[in-house]
């Protein structure tokens, strides 16, 4: 009888594992199969051939170079800020935490469109300052691409390094001072060695994010003919002559690079990070700053914010309001007409909004339910099975989304006869669910870890059955995690570009593809009006979420 109940307990686990293998592992395996199989035969030679084609070799070099340069530039931007916001009087300005998340939360394709509008020939900068004519020659280069991508990704590095610096107790520095080390020596002997591990992890993550990024290379990179992994995978999969084999080969290589980076990241975390957080709470003393240093710091913060937020948002908003772009920024040349056109000129804009909203709500809801079930199954599993299930469910976060999407395309094409989901909105929901499932998993898991075991034990002792305990204690306590996961999924799905541009059914536009299409071959101003609305809507949603969470804390 005992064995029977043991098997019965495993049923949900087995069902969920099978589902995840079907949704995540099968598409990935299809890619690898497609890469090494040509005309039904195993041919590794073709893979090598593809990689050796001069354009592909150059592209791989491009991607790696871009990754390295973005790591360097975003470090240069982020490290001084991290120090300012952790160990000087600037730490008290908590609102900067939110302000500096704006560049990271802005969809990269929108930010890079803003930069293009700002810097291009006769663009906004040259209208404001005619003397800057010719600047486009400097901007539409690899340097410009690196700058725009760094300005997007640096908040990530900033947050990581700021937290790492906050975790170094001042007592460590003070004891070094007591034993005779000056400021420079303390920085070199205590501060930096304690941070190397964290920095290495941050740098690796920025690298992976950069080579997996599609939005900026697809908009700005395209203008300067700088091909990278993501754009080439996209091209082979969408532009004639379509060659899924090559697309799959490049995707496999990209996955290989990313997984290697993750492994390296894991290794460094285990070997070179220090557990500095004690239960006693860490006291952080602040470095004193004189007037000059304070002024320089303010200027630095202002310049970074101007570049990271000011330029893209100024361009996007002003372009959406300009009547005739030929006349530029002049009094009387402003109008709300583009916003009205968005809704009235044709049904496309409204449909795109409807589609995005429908996709975001449905995928966020499915993720919330599925993700919560998975976390519960993982936590109830006593065997190694749970670890495997968790690893699979988090896989989509480690793999560039474009790769997973190609896999889903190939896999669902193969089984079209059995499950005709391909080319419908259904496949988009499915793809979003696969891509964004890790958000729910992570938020719900972290909510679970905050529930002390004795809260559940108390429920048992005071007579609650397991379903009663789940309903009255566990569920209310993880609800915050579930809601946060839902909202994050909603926001990110609402503006998702690469999935939509690859597997949206014909003639189905969502907000992101609508913006890109208007930007490239329609009315730039209408496209930017849509971008403004999209950012406004998602930011409001995020603020409401934050407010709701704060309120719950009481």
């Amino acid at each position: 009888m005992k064995e029977k109940t043991a098997i019965k307990k495993q049923v949900p686990m087995i069902v969920l594992s099978a589902l995840l293998i079907f949704l995540i592992v099968c598409p990935l395996l299809t890619i690898f199969a497609k890469a090494v199989m040509t005309d039904g035969r195993f041919q590794l030679g073709v893979v090598w051939q593809t990689l050796c084609e001069s354009q592909n070799a150059k592209m791989i070099g491009n991607s790696l170079l871009l990754g390295v340069l973005v790591v360097i530039v975003s470090s240069v931007i982020a490290l001084p800020l991290a120090y300012l916001f952790s160990r000087t009087k600037f730490a008290k300005y908590r609102f900067f935490d939110i302000v500096f998340m704006i560049p990271f939360m802005t969809p990269p394709y929108i930010a890079s469109m803003g930069w293009i509008l700002f810097m291009q020939k006769n663009g906004l900068l040259q209208q404001l300052f005619p003397a800057t004519a010719g600047c486009e020659n400097y901007f539409f280069t690899l340097g410009g691409l690196v700058l725009v991508m760094s300005l997007h990704v640096f908040p990530f590095m900033l947050t990581m390094m700021k937290n790492a610096m906050l975790n170094i107790p001042s007592s460590l520095e003070e004891s070094a001072a007591v034993f005779g080390a000056g400021f420079g020596a303390r920085l070199k002997k205590v501060f930096m060695p304690l941070l190397t591990g964290n920095y290495a992890i941050g740098a690796l993550l920025v690298f992976v994010k950069t080579i997996a990024e599609y939005g900026t290379p697809a908009t700005l990179g395209k203008r300067i003919g700088f091909d990278v992994f993501t754009t080439e995978i996209h091209r082979y999969a969408t532009v004639a002559p379509i060659d899924f084999g090559k697309s799959a080969t490049l995707a496999s290589v990209l996955v290989g690079i990313c997984l290697m980076m993750w492994m390296l990241q894991n290794y460094i975390t285990n070997r070179h990070t220090y557990n500095l957080v004690s239960g006693k709470g860490t006291r952080v003393a602040q470095t004193k700053m004189n007037k000059l240093a304070t002024v320089i710091a303010w200027i630095y913060i202002a310049v970074v914010l101007l570049l990271a937020i000011g330029v893209p948002y100024f361009s996007v908003i002003s372009t959406s309001l300009i009547k005739l772009r030929g006349y530029g920024l002049q009094a009387g040349n402003f109008t709300f007409q583009h916003y009205i056109d968005l809704f009235t000129a044709n049904a496309k804009g409204l449909n795109a909004m409807k589609n995005s909203f429908f996709l975001a709500v449905s995928s966020a809801s499915i993720c919330a339910v599925l993700g919560t079930l998975i976390v519960i199954a993982i936590r109830n599993a006593k065997s190694k099975f749970g670890k495997v299930l968790e690893a699979i469910s988090l896989l989509p976060e480690m793999i560039p989304s474009i790769v997973l999407i190609i896999g889903i395309m190939l896999f669902w094409n193969q089984i079209y006869n059995v499950l005709p989901l391909y080319n419908t909105l259904g496949i988009m929901i499915l793809a979003y669910v696969v891509l964004f499932l890790p958000y729910t998993i992570q938020y719900v898991t972290s909510a679970f870890t905050q529930i002390s075991n004795s809260l559940v034990a108390a429920g048992q002792v005071f007579g609650g059955s397991s379903t009663y305990i789940f309903r009255r204690i566990t569920l209310p306590l993880i609800m915050k995690g579930v809601m946060t996961g839902w909202m994050m999924t909603f926001i990110i799905a609402f503006r998702e570009l690469v999935t939509a541009s690859l597997i949206a059914p014909p003639n189905t536009l969502v907000i992101s593809t609508y913006i890109v299409r208007e930007f490239e071959q329609g009315s730039v101003s209408v496209g930017m009006a849509m971008a403004v609305l999209c950012v406004l809507f998602t930011t409001t949603a995020l603020l409401i979420l934050n407010r709701a969470i704060d309120k719950q804390k009481g």
């Binding site: 048992q460 059955s465 306590l477």
Partner: protein, 317 residues
């Protein structure tokens, strides 16, 4: 309700946490499981509650068997009808004080006069004005009281306490000690109390079970445990002890500096003295043992003194 444990064992992997423990807890008594951390006292308590499952043995509540490895009986915790006060209080943070206390009644569908029962329990712990608050809006001592109220409201025959006072500061701990003891004797509920604090154990208990390495070393009244420790561990763990040799010891306050007729004489050398406020505590050297002895006057380091002790005050273990 009498609680009987017979031949309970439990091991986690290779380690024996509970090693053949048998214990009978009298109905209505206040019984303490005392021991250092890792001795198995909390595990034993959680077994009574049903939160841990013994490997072998039986547990009886009165004449009802609630666990037996042989007969394959294991009543789940929610059916045992006990009260439990957790070390970290374990108040549900998303429920008000009222709802926390009402949980046990609601879970058992015992909602008749719910409001008045809950308020009665809150009144007993002097918290009736705090019903609408959330746990995080209360101080540590108030949270502790809510945990008591939650345990008494279901009118259990027995309440289990897992180091409930250890999360409080010293002053509050002493206050709650008295309050808790009074409350329990007023309600006539059997109490099983786990602690590592010997003062707490001695001041509150009718009986103390001193545990060591998964075994109950001694199970008697506090006075007996102090005066006649049955093992070396109990002698050392409860109160302070001066050792004459490997098997003979005495409690420091039994010795005297003035000679008595039938007293044994011990010559010792003063190593150091410490001022305690109301007295001085001296560390003294006797052969290769270090003794402690409290006096009203200060002694010089290096001074040679004699201690006198009645034969009957020497304890052999």
């Amino acid at each position: 309700m009498q609680i009987r444990l017979t031949n309970i064992t439990k091991s986690f992997g290779e380690k024996n946490v509970i090693d053949d423990v048998s214990l009978s807890i009298d109905s209505g008594s206040f019984t303490t499981l005392l021991g250092a951390s890792g001795c198995g006292k909390t595990t034993l308590l959680r077994m009574i509650a049903g939160l841990e499952t013994p490997d072998t043995g039986e547990i009886w509540f009165g004449d009802k068997c609630i666990f037996s490895s042989e007969k394959k009986i294991n009543i789940p915790p929610e059916m045992r009808g006990l009260g439990f006060v957790f070390q970290d209080f374990a108040l549900w943070p998303h429920m008000t004080v009222f709802e926390n206390v009402a949980f046990g009644l609601r879970a058992a569908n015992n909602t008749e006069n719910l409001e008045s029962k809950v308020m009665e329990a809150l009144r007993a712990v002097q918290l009736k004005d705090f019903a609408k608050r959330y746990p995080h809006q209360l101080s540590g001592g108030q949270q502790q009281r809510v945990a008591f109220a939650r345990a008494i409201v279901i009118e259990p025959e027995c309440i289990l306490f897992d180091e409930p006072l250890s999360a409080l500061d010293a002053l509050l701990r002493e206050e709650m000690r008295t309050e808790l003891k009074e409350l329990m004797s007023k309600l006539k509920i059997t109490a099983v109390f786990v602690t590592h604090d010997q003062t707490e154990a001695m001041s509150m208990s009718d009986k103390i079970a001193v545990m060591h390495a998964g075994v109950v070393d001694q199970y008697e009244e506090p006075e007996e445990v102090y005066a006649h420790p049955s093992t070396e561990f109990v002698a050392k763990f409860v109160g302070s002890s001066n050792w004459i040799d490997e098997h003979q010891m005495f409690r420091p306050e039994k010795a005297s500096l003035t000679p008595s007729s039938d007293g044994k004489k011990f010559d010792v050398e003063v190593l150091s003295t410490q001022f305690l406020g109301n007295a001085y505590e001296g560390k003294m050297k006797y052969k290769d043992q270090i003794w402690s002895y409290v006096t009203s006057s200060k002694m010089k380091t290096g001074e040679k003194v004699s201690l006198y002790l009645n034969e009957k005050d020497i304890v052999r273990v």
